[in-house]
Symmetry: C2
Subunit: 438 residues, 2 copies
Amino acid sequence: MNIILLSGGSGKRLWPLSNDIRSKQFIQIFQTEDGSYESMVQRVYRQICAVDPAATVTIATSRSQVSAIHNQLGEKVAVCVEPCRRDTFPAIALATAYLHDVCGISEEEPVIVCPVDPYVEQSYFETIEELGRLAGEGQANLMLMGIEPTYPSEKYGYILPADQEKISRVSTFKEKPDAETARDYIRQGALWNGGVFAYRLKYVLKKAHELIDFTDYEDLYAKYDTLTKISFDYAVVEKESDIQVLRYAGEWKDLGTWNTLTEAMEGPSVGETLMNETCENVHVINELDVPILCMGLKDVVVSASPEGILVSDKEQSSYIKPFVDQLDNKVMFAEKSWGSFRVVNIEEESMTIKVTLRPGHRMNYHSHERRDEVWTIISGEGRTIVDGMEQPVQAGDVITMQAGCKHTIIADTELKVIEVQLGKEISVHDKQKFELDE
Amino acid sequence: MNIILLSGGSGKRLWPLSNDIRSKQFIQIFQTEDGSYESMVQRVYRQICAVDPAATVTIATSRSQVSAIHNQLGEKVAVCVEPCRRDTFPAIALATAYLHDVCGISEEEPVIVCPVDPYVEQSYFETIEELGRLAGEGQANLMLMGIEPTYPSEKYGYILPADQEKISRVSTFKEKPDAETARDYIRQGALWNGGVFAYRLKYVLKKAHELIDFTDYEDLYAKYDTLTKISFDYAVVEKESDIQVLRYAGEWKDLGTWNTLTEAMEGPSVGETLMNETCENVHVINELDVPILCMGLKDVVVSASPEGILVSDKEQSSYIKPFVDQLDNKVMFAEKSWGSFRVVNIEEESMTIKVTLRPGHRMNYHSHERRDEVWTIISGEGRTIVDGMEQPVQAGDVITMQAGCKHTIIADTELKVIEVQLGKEISVHDKQKFELDE
């Protein structure tokens, strides 16, 4: 099957583990059978591959997530980068054009669009596969997934099917209701709208050409920033009469808040944690190198990352967003295509970071106008290129770079470096990239 | 007045702010009128100086606290170092001999011994001053402070006075009772034993010579490790018949647990903190550079330092000690005579620390056998001496030192340095000190 995973925005509701460049889907919090931890995106990708090892998975996302995606899923997965945020219709149109023009998928083939972050059991993806098959057979122009509701939620949109069959015509859509109305919908046999669409490729391609003036993927990509923001629901779904819905009755959780996320955790904690016996329904996610000790807490989530510490009653944690907006959020760690970095010290005119490069990877060849840098290699082996001159480096070596000097570092094995940045105006924007003739 | 402040042990009950080399009395947590924060020891010292600007203050403590004492109180305060821990009788005997032999205090002068960490109002030290005056006048061999109890505490020893006068003969001492017995003592007019003693210098000097074979302070210091551990209460107080007690009725708190410590805080937080409006009776002490966000908590204390994070119900926090013993406690920050350091990164074969030197101070001239070091100066000006060669340094300079090489750094202004230590067996014990001819 051809599946497009929509990988969305910044997700402040899971602060301090999500930040401007790390969305919630990349938090490694779910314990796997071998004891290691995987993220939402890794879990979903693993489940898709288990159902269909030949699946073509394309992730539609912004540039800022590309490194994290490749670090977590490997290089095999296709990434369709949105040059800027333009809501779901442009995103799905671009990804569909990408499948057609770049991957060579035929116009007749079915495509399934799915959020990247549902917490579901395997059978969800079996249902998705069936959804694709039905779309491919021309069962309807648009096939949706309807989730059997387990309670009258106010957080989801509802689909009212024409009958109680496994596959039904859609009679109408309802926006997020209040609990009373939701109860009424459920009595009428309504389903939650899971945000999953399946269609034949040519269907969305035709819709895209009707609404946007473009020739092919390249052209659409080039003019992406001129497109109007509009959702796929509004632009396509609500205007389509030939829609059917396929029921899914398995587990389905939206892990958008700390409260729901901790429900999905295997054990009470991730990271170095100690709880005394008087703790009840407490979850701790600790990404720091020092221990967290909890005593006498009830219904509390504690989460610590290099960017801050949250201690919250679980119910209250869903109101986090406006408080996070008030905080001075510095990016203190990030995944890059070549590895990762973490800020370890900030002073008025210096910043010290720990850089980890993956074997075989290297930074861009670059320079800074307004800061000097000092690298101290703390482990591994590699090479530096400074103003065109290459030299081997290993633990203990020190490289100093004046402002203006072009430099990069190449990891032959995993390479760890303490980088001290020195200058009056240290900024991530002070960076010029250069081509490197190797 | 001559006052000896007993500055005690490590205090795991206030983890993570106290550690093996920083005791609770050095935590800067009490807001002063100018908005800055002071520690217990700073508060007590300020209160003593307000009552008697000419007071001779001597702090009896272990070597590990000397730097913190001078950093917090300045160089003027006298420190009587116990070479090892031998309980309160040897400590008071040593400090008394120090006052006599080193400071030249006459045998007839009164001396007051007082814990370094009571949280009290100014009138406590007025009572202490009176206690000293009474001892000096020969009112009794030993004068004690009796604190008017406010509840039947099980945590304190009790003094039963012979009558209800302001100054009374002591009729008997009682060990920490259960609450029922405490109620009974209070009905009989008992007072809490505040651990404060006043006497004429010659009185304790005589007791010391009776129990220990020594000539003078130097000699006592030299044989200190051979002394038997014994408390002043057991060795002296319980055997003395001529004891009187002076009442104190003001505020007196023992800030030994997070519960009592947070009661004494001026506001709900120290450090970068945000609480939502549903938090009730929550206190946060944050020594990290990143924010702590609290939501929907009740009766909770949160404390974060470079060594760990505590999140505890306030009542439960008094049971912390066995849990802290279970943690792998690394010393991640410390005050030194020349400034302070903080560990910012630990790897298998490297450790990175931020070093801050106070202007005019320097490290010991030293070398390491099993690690190389790299200094990157990040701010300030000073000089390094490496294998005898002195050179000026400033922000941006890098100094590399191979294992075995002798080195030191001297701060002319405040000097900050990122030090990367590289080696297979990095240990604080791997250090040889040398004399430096300047």
